[in-house]
């Protein structure tokens, strides 16, 4: 078997994996951060608290695979729309991941002392700059390892796209195996590619941690 002849196919699969990861990761971070803020103890009495609790409960409680099937088959059928496998599966992964990100962000926000909220209030800071300039940077620094872990988990979860036929990295490998009948070398190669992607992510995380002085607080 000459795996080099499949290099272009594997690159394409890697690209789709990364595109799905980026799509799901960005959505998950945006939604998760917003919900994490709304769910933190400072806003807990707010009317969104119950909604946030319900959201995280559902997002975390349903397996990602089932969510993918629901988003791909059930929701389009109910709404009478067409959604591509890529968008459906990536959105489902984003939904699932955002539940975890919301909890991580909530933990980070809750770790900030009440005194800081009070100080902002006394100094007359409006809510938006209080969050973006004072609270979130501190919370973000504290939750960096957990967020990076979640992003890494998300990268590996993209292999679930294969279950609805999206030709991402894992599915590409399955196709090569079906033609070449050499599962051991193909799966080993897939593992190496995933490790390489994870390594890049780790390096990125390490760089951000250094920038935010995570270990030197």
């Amino acid at each position: 078997m000459n795996l080099f002849s499949y290099a272009a196919l594997l690159l394409r699969g890697t690209w789709i994996t990364l595109a799905s990861w980026a799509f799901a990761g960005i959505l998950s971070m945006l939604v998760g951060t917003l919900l994490g803020i709304l769910g933190c103890k400072h806003f807990m009495s707010g009317r969104f608290a119950i909604l946030v609790k319900c959201y995280t409960f559902i997002a975390k409680g349903i397996p990602a695979y089932v969510q993918i099937l629901i988003v791909y088959f059930v929701i389009p059928s109910l709404l009478n729309i067409q959604v591509s496998g890529f968008v459906a599966a990536s959105s489902a992964l984003a939904f699932c991941s955002s539940g975890y990100v919301a909890e991580i962000v909530r933990a980070g926000m809750n770790a900030i002392s009440q005194g800081q909220w009070d100080a902002c209030y006394v100094l007359g800071y409006p809510l938006y700059p209080t969050l973006t300039r004072i609270m979130l940077p501190q919370a973000f620094r504290m939750i960096l390892p957990a967020v990076c872990g979640e992003l890494e988990q998300l990268l590996k979860s993209t292999s679930l796209l294969a279950t609805i036929g999206v030709i991402e990295l894992t599915r590409t490998g399955m196709n090569i195996i079906s033609r070449e009948l050499n599962p051991l070398s193909v799966y080993s190669m897939l593992a190496c590619i995933y490790l390489l992607l994870s390594a890049f992510l780790q390096i990125g995380a390490w760089y951000v941690e250094r920038r935010f002085n995570y270990d030197y607080r």
Binding site: F73, Q82, I177, R179
Partner: protein, 259 residues
């Protein structure tokens, strides 16, 4: 401010890309002149993806020939698993399933099936790695042993008759091969054409033919169409007959080595 601008640009990009993908998918598969075929890649020689990322295989050639006969544009919809294929057919996401599906009585009760390849199958191959275990001469001798089988396949239905066999559900035949190779299962129960391909490529595979009860016997490989879609069923039947008369299917069988 910079962060806000970047976030906004990212969101807009996501919306544009997402919208584009949704619309493109819709325009491809919703068009009236499209023949949307559901299949699952990674099932060579029936359906797989070549080095250039194109769908190839016996079923793809047949689907293209059928689409040409129907005067429609072929749209391949890869759905990842058999369960997804049948859900999509039921929901009308696809017009037909062309994926080396055996025609069984159970499937005939649910969907319309049009035979396009193969003849009646009276045995299914039980694949072993290197040697058939001592004392195993028929499937009845597999008591307490583990056999890999694809869930919801016709082999799965046959294996259900033997409750003393432990089933190891494997979505992909390649995973079944891996399982028997590394001793995770004793045997794999697969389609005859797949067993033949495996045997040709790998001399370590040994096959034991399992005779099928009359109710489990397969009437060839067929195209599945929603029962409600009577018009399409008739047109596909005519198109398949025409392809068989013109020896087109025979030519594809020889091309893909499943004759």
């Amino acid at each position: 401010m910079k962060l806000k601008t970047i976030s906004f640009i990212v969101l807009v990009l996501i919306a544009i890309v997402g919208g584009f993908v949704v619309l493109r998918n819709c325009s491809d598969s919703c068009a009236d002149d499209a023949f949307v075929v559901g299949t699952v890649s990674g099932y060579a020689p029936f359906v797989s993806i070549n080095e250039d990322g194109e769908y190839v295989g016996f079923d793809i050639d047949v689907a293209q020939a059928l689409a040409d006969r129907l005067g429609k544009k072929l749209v391949i919809n890869d759905l990842g698993s058999m369960t997804s294929l049948f859900i999509a057919l039921e929901q009308g996401k696809i017009d037909a399933i062309i994926w080396g599906l055996s025609i069984t009585q159970e499937r005939l009760n649910k969907v319309a099936m049009i035979c396009y390849q193969g003849e009646a199958v009276v045995t299914y191959p039980l694949m072993f790695w290197k040697r058939i275990p001592d004392g195993v001469t028929s499937i009845e001798d597999m008591q307490g042993r583990t056999v890999c089988v694809e869930p919801a396949s016709s082999q799965d239905a046959v294996l259900s008759n033997y409750s003393f066999i432990q089933k190891n559900p494997t979505e992909k035949v390649d995973d079944a091969l891996l399982a028997i190779q590394y001793g995770k299962a004793d045997a794999a129960f697969v389609e005859p054409a797949i067993a033949k391909k495996f045997k040709n490529k790998c001399s370590d595979i040994v096959i034991l033919d399992v005779p099928l009860a009359p109710k489990d016997q397969v009437q060839g490989i067929g195209i599945a169409i929603n029962r409600k879609n009577i018009d399409l069923t008739e047109r596909v039947k005519c198109a398949v007959s025409a392809l068989q008369d013109a020896s087109t299917i025979k030519m594809y069988e020889e091309k893909w080595g499943i004759a």
